[in-house]
């Protein structure tokens, strides 16, 4: 069931100039969260924001009433949120949206770029649990943008690219050798900039690999009430917040 729930900030961990991870814990039992789902978070004490902000659940630990968010600073809301202190209270509406399809005992590829890696950690962990062979491909502009590699390595093999070659393979994610390896993967999941998702999706389509993308359309309500977040799909306009954020690549009209 969807909830409005207060969480305490356990840790606000700065990763680099514009990324941080918030570890949150509630005093009360928390809801089940599936990989791909997101929260609508209230931005506290901000003069310039009005609406909540949607953020994917990065990781969660039901036994400890904990969940974490992986955030990239792009504007006022994500900036303010990055300034919270330990023990501050944050209000979440969650869990929202559909989820990634979880396969069993398959070879799967997760491709993330920018803040798009946020939902991939929980996904990787669940996929590993159900016996899949997990490869995680993370792309960034420079080495400084490749974050949390160690954490991802717990749940699969991590490979990386950077535009400038300062770490991993030089180029875009699509240029990485794992993408060359025909017929290797049964399922690919991707989240990140549109251009990246499109490239990955086209690649998967050509190889007849199932591909799910997670979209980040701007939202007002997050619960299917306002129809602001719609995405054109082969089935007409769908709500990213309830019919998504995860879509089959082939359903999306880009």
């Amino acid at each position: 069931m969807k909830q409005i729930q207060d969480f305490n900030v356990l840790k606000n961990r700065r990763l680099n100039a514009d990324h941080y991870i918030l570890e949150l814990q509630s005093k009360h039992p928390i809801e089940d969260v599936c990989p791909g789902q997101f929260v609508q978070i209230e931005i506290p004490d901000s003069k310039t924001t009005f609406l909540r902000r949607p953020l994917s659940v990065h990781f969660y630990d039901k036994s400890k009433n904990m969940l974490s968010l992986y955030v990239r600073i792009v504007g006022e809301g994500t900036k303010y949120l990055g300034m919270v202190n330990e023990n501050d209270t944050l209000n979440l509406v969650y869990p929202l949206g559909n989820k990634f399809t979880l396969v069993n005992k398959k070879k799967v590829l997760l491709v993330g770029g920018g803040s798009g890696i946020a939902p991939l950690l929980l996904l990787a962990s669940e996929l590993q649990k159900s016996g899949n062979e997990v490869v995680i491909l993370l792309g960034a502009r420079t080495a400084d943008g490749l974050l949390e590699i160690n954490t991802f390595e717990k749940y699969g093999k991590v490979v990386t690219t950077t535009n400038d070659g300062s770490a991993g393979v030089k180029g875009l994610v699509i240029d990485h050798p794992v993408m060359k390896d025909q017929n290797k993967f049964d399922f690919v999941y991707t989240c990140g900039p549109d251009v990246m998702m499109k490239a990955v999706g086209e690649w998967a389509k050509n190889l007849n690999i199932q591909c799910e993308v997670s979209l980040e359309n701007t939202m007002a309500c997050g619960i299917g009430a306002c129809l602001c977040c719609i995405q054109k799909t082969v089935r007409g306009n769908l709500c990213v917040c309830t019919d998504g954020p995860v879509f089959n690549f082939n359903d999306v009209v880009w």
Binding site: F50, L51, T218, C226, L227, Q231, N237
Partner: protein, 305 residues
């Protein structure tokens, strides 16, 4: 015990707190957060004769203390509503109103007729003020003759509670209130959104696909209060006030200005349980101020001056 019952036409609302069209889906979207049976009423999303895809993405822009939307009446049409949605929501123990929109007078009439056949829908809200569609919509709400024509035509075929929703994008809103009253509407509701634009300075382009959109939220509250006050001085039929209501104090302000009931819109996005808090807050306010019947505060600032 405080009396929170108010009357719109012959309908008795258990309290004055209702939800605004387009901001509350059809109701079930909020089942996890609120008990819809406790609401004064639910105004479902804008419904048209035919299925509509609405406008292109992006449809939303955040603005200071408010937001712009350009949904453009996306809905599956009145037949779909009657067949698929009505059966699900008719059993809520609250009044459900259908917000009726169209491009031509005839669309409004046909849609109203269809909805009139639904036993558990006690009223409609005639949306002559949608700023987000190319044809009709606000055009009916900004021309006196067009307004009067469409209300008259709908009144002829629709015998239950008829509420006319007015546009704030006019020089003198009281003219439209007067027309609604003259044409026999049971109530008026106001305000719909103010026409606005948001621009992305970095990208050097409008945020919305449609360039203009409708402004809602606390930013518009002073304008909404003014218009409710103006209309309350002009017409005798009840007024349903809205525009930026975020809490019980805001709702009280609308009632003091002359609203018999209120609708809560954008606030539902920020706190999906806000309506329940507002109902509780109205009750506490009445107790604190020793008000036995909430109807006593309706239009108080007009009576006092």
């Amino acid at each position: 015990m405080v009396n929170l019952n108010v009357k719109i036409g012959d309908l008795v609302l258990q309290n004055p707190v209702m939800t605004a069209s387009g901001t509350y889906g059809y109701g079930p979207e909020f089942d996890d957060f609120v008990d819809n049976n406790k609401l004064g009423g639910i105004f479902v999303k804008g419904t048209t004769l035919e299925h509509r895809e609405g406008n292109n993405y992006p449809r939303m822009a955040e603005t200071p203390s408010g937001m712009l939307n350009a949904v453009g009446l996306q809905n599956k049409g009145v037949d779909y509503f009657c067949k698929e949605i009505y059966p699900v929501i008719r059993h809520y123990n609250t009044h459900i109103f259908v917000n009726v929109s169209g491009s031509k007078v005839d669309d409004y009439v046909k849609t109203a007729e269809r909805v009139g056949d639904l036993e558990d829908i006690p009223g409609i809200e005639l949306n002559i003020s949608c700023p987000n569609v190319k044809e009709g919509g606000m055009a009916f709400g900004t021309s006196c003759s067009a307004a009067s024509e469409v209300i008259k035509a709908v009144r002829k075929v629709y015998k239950k509670t008829l509420i006319v929703k007015l546009s704030p994008n006019v020089t003198d809103i009281t003219q439209f209130a007067q027309i609604a009253e003259n044409e026999g509407a049971e109530a008026i509701s106001l305000i719909n959104t103010l026409l606005g634009i948001a621009i992305d300075a970095k990208k050097q382009k409008p945020v919305l696909s449609t360039i203009t959109g409708g402004l809602s939220g606390p930013a518009i509250k002073p304008v909404a209060l003014r218009m409710v006050w103006q209309c309350a001085k002009t017409v005798k039929i009840p007024i349903i006030g809205m525009g930026g209501i975020m809490n019980a104090t805001d709702a009280i302000e609308f009632m003091l200005a002359g609203a018999t009931a209120v609708q809560v819109g954008t606030a539902n996005f920020i706190d999906p349980a806000v309506t329940m808090k507002i109902i509780d807050g109205l009750n506490s306010y009445c107790i604190e101020h020793n008000i036995k019947d909430i109807n006593d505060i309706v239009g108080l600032i007009i009576k006092k001056s």
